[in-house]
């Protein structure tokens, strides 16, 4: 491009005789472009207001640095053409004290496209605002805000779209609040049927950490129960006759009403318990055989002397059967000692003298056999198991 100064004005300041000094100067530049050319103005303005060192307790005078610039480009072609204004404004205010100094860039962008024929055109403003506030010392109130007004208008009488795309990105540190206020106004000015839509899509995602299900339980633990006792027959203290009533409490199983069936039998040991291959038949035990019930229970006293007895239903309950057999023959003793050896630590079967079948282990396989008299041998052992 060839620039040519068409007009030029100068203001001259002179103080009497001597030297003259140009204080203001206006220059008009006329630029012309040829076919398929482009017109561009590049102008750099730089103003500096120099500060003066302020003595302690003194006053700093207000100074201002302002650039006013108007750019107007016009392309006169009727063919495809483009218009663009690239403008950068940079203001910096540096201060040492916590005075509230505004840094403001007022910017107006105006683009106009005149329609010359049935072609599609677009008007778009791309504006990026960034206002960082850095370098302050101490606690000051800082306000950072972006005020942006976008107005899209489509004047065509046929299908047209006016869209405003706006993105907010705010971040605040310390106790500041990050807030985005968004107002969408869509106006359709066409004469034909046209809808004005403001579509705002908000997406909120909450990360699911856990899902906890809580059931509502209203159980007072009320149970009903009843018992009875038949008074009259004297044999009630001798026979198997528990008086079992009813109860809605299912945590405890009452004893069986029917008496266990007892019969006569010989004391018999078998191994293995299933499909036994070793069998030893002994005489029935002497009196003083013991049938023990052993339970795991907590039986403690608190510091205040209250007795606490507790046992869980699933805690183990052991039954032991202790017998002494006399009058054994040598062959029976030999078989018994062999039986103790082969069934060591294994489950064996025991049929007691009341014809009850037990399954368990022999607790003392090292029990001695005493030869107390001629053809009289005695052995006692303890059996742990269940019926």
């Amino acid at each position: 491009m060839v620039a040519r100064a068409t007009r030029q004005y100068a203001e001259i300041l002179a103080a009497g005789d001597g030297k003259a000094r140009i204080t203001r100067q206006y220059v008009e530049v006329l630029s012309d472009t040829s076919l398929y050319g482009s017109g561009a103005d590049a102008l750099g303005l730089s103003d500096a207001a120099l500060g003066v060192a302020v003595p302690p307790g003194g006053t700093e005078y207000e100074r201002a640095a302002t650039d006013v610039l108007s750019l107007a480009d016009t392309a006169l072609f009727q063919m495809i053409y483009s218009i663009g204004n690239v403008l950068e404004l940079l203001d910096a205010a540096t201060f040492n004290r916590a005075f509230a100094l505004p840094v403001t860039d007022p910017l107006s962008l105006s683009q106009t496209v005149d329609k010359r024929g049935p072609i599609y055109m677009g008007v778009q403003h791309v504006l990026q605002l960034e206002q960082p506030v850095n370098g302050h010392v101490g606690t000051v109130n800082v306000t950072v805000g972006d005020t942006l007004e976008l107005s899209g208008q489509a004047g065509r009488t046929s299908a047209a779209t006016a869209a405003s795309v706006l993105s907010f990105s705010d971040s605040g540190s310390r106790s500041n609040v990050a807030q985005s206020v968004l107002t969408l106004v869509g106006t359709a000015l066409a004469g034909k049927a046209k809808e004005a839509d403001s579509v705002l899509a908000l997406v909120q995602v909450v990360g699911l950490e856990a899902r906890l299900l809580r059931g509502l339980v209203s159980d007072l633990g009320l149970v009903q129960s009843g018992t009875y006792q038949l008074v009259g027959p004297s044999c009630v203290t001798h026979t198997y006759q528990p008086f079992v009533g009813f109860s809605t409490d299912t945590t405890i199983t009452p004893p069986d009403v029917a008496a266990p069936v007892l019969a006569d039998a010989m004391l018999t040991l078998t191994y293995p318990f299933v499909a036994p291959t070793y069998t030893v038949v002994l005489r029935n035990p002497e009196f003083s055989n013991k049938d023990n019930l052993n339970f795991n229970r907590i039986n403690r006293q608190t510091r205040g002397g209250t007795l606490v007895v507790y046992a869980d239903a699933n805690w183990p309950k052991t039954q032991t059967f202790q017998v002494e057999v006399q009058g054994l023959k040598a062959a029976q003793v030999a078989d018994l000692l062999v039986f103790f050896g082969v069934s060591l630590g294994k489950e064996v079967g025991l049929l007691d003298h009341e014809n009850r079948q037990w399954k368990g282990i022999i607790m003392d396989p090292d029990t001695p056999v005493n030869h107390v008299a001629r053809s009289d041998r005695t052995v006692s052992f303890t059996f742990e198991g269940e019926l």
């Binding site: 149970v223 129960s225 001798h238 026979t239 198997y240 006759q241 109860s247 019930l293 229970r297 007795l307």
Partner: protein
């Protein structure tokens, strides 16, 4: 006779036992520790409990009744029991002896099972009601 009912308080099962043998016992559960200082002063440290008593009964019963008591113990060894003893006293107790040792002591023809079983029962609990104490 002795009446055992369980579980307390929702009584469901009643077992009637014969009267216990002599030498039944009833005792408080308090304790005292006596210390004597160098100058001969006697100090006592007591361990008090609530109104709890320990009861000990020894029963001799038929084999059938022993089986019934055995089933009763297996069902209610972890429950409180309502006990009505031969003196008419009503107690709320726990079974505290472990193990329960059913010992066949001898043969007794007229009784069912034709055997006699001996068992010692130890209980600990509270007196609920008692008849008037006799003067003798």
């Amino acid at each position: 006779m002795m009446i055992l009912q369980a579980p307390w308080p929702g009584l469901t099962t009643t077992t009637v036992l014969p009267n216990p043998q002599f030498n039944d016992m009833q005792a408080r559960q308090h304790g005292v520790t006596i210390k004597r200082a160098m100058d001969g002063t006697r100090y006592t440290y007591v361990h008090t409990t609530d109104s709890r008593h320990k009861l000990t009964y020894q029963f001799t019963m038929s084999r059938k009744k022993a089986l019934e008591l055995r089933a009763f113990v297996r069902a209610y060894y972890r429950s409180q029991i309502r006990l009505t003893n031969h003196k008419g006293e009503v107690w709320r107790v726990w079974f505290i002896n472990n193990p329960f040792e059913f010992e066949t002591t001898g043969r007794e023809g007229p009784q069912p099972g034709q055997e006699t079983v001996s068992l010692t029962v130890e209980c600990e609990g509270f007196l609920l009601s008692a008849p008037p104490v006799s003067s003798c």
